[in-house]
Amino acid sequence: AGDSATLKRAVAVAQHHDAVSGTEKQNVVYDYAKRLAGGWDKCQVLVANALSILTGTKQNFAFCNNLNISVCPQTESLSAFTVTVYNPLGRPVSSVVRLPVNGSVYSVSDARGQTVPNQVVAVSAVTRRVRNGRGYAVNELVFEASVPAVGFTTFTVSRQQPSTGAPGPSDQTPS
């Protein structure tokens, strides 16, 4: 069962002035972080349940919590997956999605089955270094998502076999 109360409590605790300004002891930092992570864990279940109801399907939704360092075990290991993008704003937005992947050619289609232009680029050397051994994605899949107001849209991603002679991920040779 998902709930938002755990996160609500964690955020309430983190309203202490030490948490807001970062003037707490290191042990307390760890405690705040643990509470917030536990709250977000429960919220993820809540969001997954809500999406299941809204989409009328039951899926094991996964949240990529380490996208900033190009780590997402699901997108790295699966050859086919769906990406649901939810927009909480009251106006349509266009957002760029970057997902860590291990293939070099992907096909992305939107909810109407239309092909969405995408690009696969190599993960930068700095990102590989800061991952510190976590995650093995060598590339990032990039595409633009147009999402309706206070709503969501879904993309289907499939890994393709690179055709002979086709260009691979964009080269990052220093110039």
């Binding site: 969001v47 996964a62 990529c64 900033n68 699901q74 997956f81 769906t82 993008v85 939810y86 930068s124």
Partner: protein, 284 residues
Amino acid sequence: DQTPSIQNKHIRVRFDPVTGLISGIDNLEKNLSLPVTHNFYWYTGSKGDYRSGQTSGAYIFRPVEGKPYPMAANASIYKVQTAMFEEIHQNFSSWCSQVVRLHRNQRMVELEWTVGPIPLADSRGKEIISRFDTPLKTDGLFYTDSNGREILQRRRDYRPTWHFNQTEPVAGNYYPVNTRIFIRDGKFQLSVLTDRSQGGSSIEDGSLELMVHRRLIFDDGRGVGEALNEPGEDGKGLVVRGKHLLFLDTPSASGQLHRLAAEQQYMAPLVVVAGGTGAAYRTS
């Protein structure tokens, strides 16, 4: 390239071919061109001096020098160019790098910085800033937000409600930046959105800086009882990565730009992944 640059139909960012640093930003729609030099710098955290025994710590920002040290004179760069985006990767040192990115349809420049682990081998605490220098005549004024709501005008070495005697020329001019900071003159406005609360200031006219990371070796004696020196998982110190979104426009047009973008930062789209290709979607 003779003059490395990245651009889309809205914005162009130019880089100095010798130093690899950002050298200018052009708003192609409005035909605005502003020389902008960007670099990372660091202040040395104070361990107390003859004026005061106050050290830099979790509560206190008290740099030794009035002017920070540049992270590097040059950044090594390389460019990644695709149909959807262009980016230039800048490497300033073994612990400081940045990706300057322009997506095809975006009106802002995305600066994704990675800083740390901050080395302490020289026994000096360091407070790292990202600084933009422009020729804008800002007359000591800059602007920061108040918790993402009202924008407040800040004036260097001045407080609106009392006669202020400035004793800390850098720290005394730092203000909270929860979502944005900007400088402007009659023609240009340079706005920076943050992805987290940071400290920021404009220490000289036309300059704008944000503190992105800090690691210190003394307790500041204000109650926390320990130095701000988290070694991290590997004992070398924390690495932080974040984003700054940069806008160059006229003062009259900038408000709409940075308010909408900040809203989208705060309520960013949520990406959820599921295995398989069954479209999780009903037209209703």
